[in-house]
Amino acid sequence: MAGYIVRRLIMALPVLVGVSLITFILLNVVPGDPVLEMMGKHVDPLTLEKVREQLGLNDPLYVQFGRFLFNALRGDLGKSFKTGQPVTQMIMDTFPTTVKLALSSAFVAIVLGITVGIISAVKQYSFFDHAAMITALAGISAPIFWVAVVAQLVFGLQLKWLPISGYSSPKHMILPAVVLGIRFAASIARYTRSAFLEVIRQDFIRTARAKGLAERAVIFGHALKNAMIPVVTIIGMQISGLLTGSLLTETIFAIPGLGRLSIWALSNRDFPLVQGIVLFTAVVFVIGNLIVDISYAFLDPRVRLQ
């Protein structure tokens, strides 16, 4: 197992280098000058040139990229052009907030999604099933910024139950966690339903019923565990996505997390910060996928990690 993890992490290195390279190229291709952005338009060309030299922007691209990689390997992602703070520090300052939002919305998504999925599958074609699946489809299709704004209007402005935005108390987390969570609950519900339907048509479920087990033991003991494998994949990928910050939700609810930091970095052409965030995102995904793969071995005795 330890060997498997180490091997997987080594295999991830080329992925991380590739991601960094693509980001680096894209940043240099898109129009816009980070130094101009930083200093304002009314600076004399000499100063501009000096700052460029200081930041190493005059070096050939491959030198710049090599320097980035070399420093990244030592855990140094450079300094933000805009604030001068170390990028690692900026990421680490905002990451806990994003984690909090991610975990609370994942909680909403998993509990709601799996429950609805199971009931829909067990009562296939019932009124509940139809209603739940239509709602789920709507949940997946509706743009999140729209859902967020509607939620702010209804629960914040009309009913005055919850604060609209900000990040000063646990109460502030409820609305964004639910808005974000419902969206993922919708896809988890649909995956759970279809995985469950496939499993409950198998003979071993009939066998379990023929054994005279209680229906609850059949559903939770036999069906659920077998249906969880595809669902865990989806949940794993979604949590990775949530952990790297939800750009729209964090911006709309003014939550100082990684998502909002990414938007800020992009709009300010803060190259080192963007690079750092992208690399960090890639690392989170690599680890997330690894955890999902390891969890298969626990869910399914047929899977061996090699």
Binding site: D203, F204, R206, T207, A208, G212, L213, R302
Partner: protein, 324 residues
């Protein structure tokens, strides 16, 4: 004589509604099983044969109430189990078990052999702990597997071995009746006879009754005391095993028997080829259901449905040819 009967099915019917349109209007019914009656005695094997889709499996599932029948009565040791509520049915289940066709999908891939075989025992409070392990080991030995396999998972076994696990599982609760739903169809020919012999041995030792489903008569011949032939949701002929092979009466049974290969290249037998497909069970032909493919078809067959009548002691057939 009466108390020897383990299960009796009377006029069993299972219709599946066919729904159409947005409003899910019922447009008709698939008549999967349409008035089937038979009984099985203690230590007896009743073979049930017929083409795919003729309602054998549905009959068996309805008999166990794994599928709820539309109509009909089922007596298990004289008690009408159609009147049983969920809880009483659940308590009765250990006494009637089932072995499925596909040894791959019939074992939960996530459970060990011990859990698969022992689950019903723990659940119904029959055995636990050391006792459970001993019982599972004993059952494994009974079906020709090693008790050492107790901690393994289904995927570590071959098809034949998995079917043995399925049999051990069915035997765990000491049932009086086991429905074998094509238990050898998915296995290699060499393994098939091993499993059939095993089932026979177990019947001799334990006195269990079988309802044995197969789609060809050759498999059933080996193991059954009596054989019933089904066509399109109806039982068309039922007789002692010997009798039905020597003296098949229904034209459909005759066709099925002529299809059994003879392992002797010199002997020739007239093959009766059935033409056309099985008609749809949504709109079965009026009269006798077999008339569209029958070579002796008469006028009466097209509009009057023949009853299942005794033509010789213990030999019943539903065909107008033998009415008088």
């Amino acid at each position: 004589m009466k108390e020897q009967v383990v299960i009796e099915v009377q006029d069993l019917v299972k219709w599946y509604p066919v729904k159409v349109g947005i409003l899910q209007k019922v447009a008709g019914y698939v008549k999967a099983v349409d008035g089937v009656s038979f009984s099985i005695k203690r230590s007896e094997t009743l073979g049930l044969v017929g083409e795919s889709g003729c309602g054998k499996t549905t009959t068996a599932r309805c008999m166990l109430r794994l599928t709820e029948p539309t109509k009909g009565r089922i007596f298990f040791e004289g008690k009408d189990i159609m009147k049983f509520d969920r809880e009483s049915m659940r308590k009765l289940r250990p006494r009637m078990q089932v072995i499925f066709q596909d040894p791959y999908s019939s074992l939960n891939p996530r459970l060990t052999v011990k859990e698969i075989i022992g689950e019903a025992l723990t659940f119904h409070g029959i055995a636990r702990g050391r006792e459970l392990e001993d019982r599972v080991g004993e059952l494994l030995k009974m079906v020709g597997l090693s008790p050492q396999h107790i901690k393994r998972f289904p995927h570590e076994f071959s098809g034949g071995q998995r079917q043995r696990i399925g049999i051990a599982r069915a035997l765990a609760t000491n049932p009086d009746l086991i429905v074998c739903d094509e238990p050898v169809s998915a296995l290699d020919v060499s393994i098939q006879s091993q499993i059939l012999n095993l089932l026979e041995d177990l019947q001799e030792r334990l006195g269990v009754s079988y309802l044995f489903i197969a789609h060809g008569l050759n498999v059933v011949k080996h193991i059954s005391h009596r054989v019933g032939v089904m066509y399109l949701g109806k039982l068309v002929e039922i007789a002692d095993s010997e009798e039905i092979y020597k003296n098949p009466l229904h034209p459909y049974t005759q066709a099925l028997i002529s299809a059994i290969p003879i392992p002797d290249p010199k002997r020739k037998r007239e093959k009766i080829l059935l033409e056309g497909d099985v008609p749809s069970p949504i709109n079965p032909p009026e009269g006798c259901r077999f008339w569209t493919r029958c070579r002796y078809v008469m006028d009466i067959c097209r509009h009057e449905e023949p009853e299942l009548l005794e033509s010789a002691p213990g030999h019943k057939v539903a065909c107008h040819l033998y009415k008088c």
